[in-house]
Symmetry: C2
Subunit: 337 residues, 2 copies
């Protein structure tokens, strides 16, 4: 049973100049929009996630309280619910699906928020990982609309090292001849498994495994169980072209890729007027805190709060209660400003 709605965007001209016909944005909302249309929060999804992946951060008494706020979760293009290689008809299906950017995502989300709901101000935009990249993009594109921004375990521009990690994952997938340049008729299972195994090494920290938290906290009996019971099924649930479409969005993420900024990241960050709390995880291997620190140094009203966790990038995934509470406390503090 689908627990989301679809916003039909019509034919959309993308940042690349190509057209995505009959674009669809899947979304879910929590709570009710108030009469002044002034209590909305946007909370985009992360890589390979859906609106359900964000549910952990929403609940009564939490920062994202549906009794207080109207929380909109737009699904990222490519995730299999919004327009994606796997659900777009020919001639734009599969490997022919046009490349979309974080900016393309946010412009459609902006249409959803303004055209469908008539919202002109957002109390907060927040998100994890690629969700954080979309939050940065929102704040840079719509400074008059976004009152607060809280990116966690993400970046305003994909770093060169992050690009390289993703390139390794991609290479593993396409090494499977069954991928056939995206024109497979049966899923390239071998390639997706390899993709999952490469990815798994990056998502947690060295210390997470040294402390055997995969066994003691996640309850997976062995490293092989960790791979075959957790990581491989998680990615095998996705279409391979969808995985690569989202990966390409990630590799190209850059809020400064805009005529106003001409690739000047510092200028793009300085254009953000929202009150901000930026939360990298101390042990994140692909969004390391150093990058967030540099970003914060260019922002007008931003605080750096490093999540003191050994869960690496997954500190932002809501699995570890301590990390979830850390993020929730920061969101509460920011919403109170």
């Amino acid at each position: 049973m689908a627990n989301h709605e679809i916003f039909d965007c019509g034919d959309v001209t993308l940042q690349s100049g190509k057209v995505l016909p009959a674009a669809r944005l899947a979304y879910r909302t929590h709570g009710r929009l108030d009469a002044a249309r002034a209590n909305a929060i946007v909370y985009p999804t992360h890589y390979s996630g859906t609106h359900d992946s964000n549910a952990w951060a929403i609940g009564p008494g939490m920062a994202l309280d549906p009794e207080k706020y109207f929380i909109i979760i737009p699904n990222m293009l490519g995730n299999g619910l919004s327009s994606s290689p796997s659900n777009t008809p020919a001639p734009d299906a599969g490997p022919a699906f046009p490349a979309v950017t974080v900016r393309d995502n946010v412009l459609l989300q902006h249409r959803l928020v303004t055209e469908l709901f008539g919202i002109t101000t957002l109390q907060l935009v927040t998100g994890h990982s690629m969700g954080a990249q979309q939050a940065y993009q929102w704040a840079a594109l719509f400074p008059d609309m976004v009152q607060r921004v809280a990116p966690f375990c993400g970046s305003a521009r994909t770093s060169r090292h992050n690009w390289l990690f993703l390139e390794g994952c991609k290479s593993a997938l396409v090494a499977d001849a069954g991928f056939a340049d995206g024109r497979y008729t049966v899923p390239p299972v071998r390639g997706i498994r390899a993709f999952a195994r490469v990815y798994a090494g990056w998502a947690w920290s060295q210390t997470f495994f040294r402390q055997r938290l995969d066994i003691e906290k996640l309850g997976l009996a062995s490293m092989e169980a960790f791979l075959t019971q957790a990581w491989e099924p998680s990615f095998l649930a996705h279409d391979a072209n969808d995985l690569l479409a989202m990966l390409a969005t990630w590799q190209a993420a850059d809020i400064s890729a805009d005529p106003r900024f001409g690739g000047d990241l510092a200028a793009a960050l300085a254009a953000i007027t929202a009150k901000a709390i930026v939360m990298p995880c101390r042990t994140d291997l692909y969004f390391p805190p150093e990058d967030s620190e540099i970003e914060v140094s260019h922002m007008r009203d931003a605080e750096l709060r490093v999540i003191p966790s050994v869960w690496g990038h997954m500190a932002g995934g809501g699995i570890n209660p301590e990390d979830a509470m850390f993020i929730d406390a920061a969101l509460k503090a920011l919403l109170a400003r």
Copy 2:
């Protein structure tokens, strides 16, 4: 022109109980053994390296001074010069090549040192990465023989996270159906390229790429050049089964896998009597300094010297002059004790 010698070991029973027939150890020496046979140093090779990869650390005026020391560089099994899947005749060729351990390597090296050269004391055993793992193994197996040990960017036991990184590389290679479970007739080029691209993300640090040192120090014009001109050719020069044989040795590395220690790493480290300087690199992503710190805490006479570099694991590769000098200075200090 080969610049190495071969030590024929005959049929060797391995740690697994299997027999490697007509085992061969390729080695190179620098300098001359003195009359007392008391000036020898052993300096094993790292993953996918040969004796030539170690040459940077040897020279007049350096710690490893061939005018003073007799420096023996044994090539690791699986590297294509010592016994390997690629150079062993049927029925032990290719994928049938038996699994060898770091301990198997060191026991053959011990035979080379004692039987061929009549050496009973070693001034130093040192090495980078898997070379460091062999150095640890030497010191744990032959405490009466090894006077000093200096592992850099390595470990006494492969960590669970390090195992996972390697598993990702392996998965990318074998995702290529052309690998055919090791029974390929033409090299599985697509898989080896994927292997190289996965590996590349781990070998350097996030900061290395943030500072664009790949461009400014290595002279590679772009990330794609970095991959296609440096990493892919480096691994394409190897046989795929050789790469996987060395990888299996690495994944299983553990000086405590010994009846004397029964898997107790602290006990195995405490059995080391050699004076030691252990040198992790501050930004090494697979041999992080935390692991070295734990190791040092269990050793009797060990000093931790963290290489203050952003070159990640490659700080131990001799490419960056500052790091090479740091290691050389530590080796000099250790040899002076």
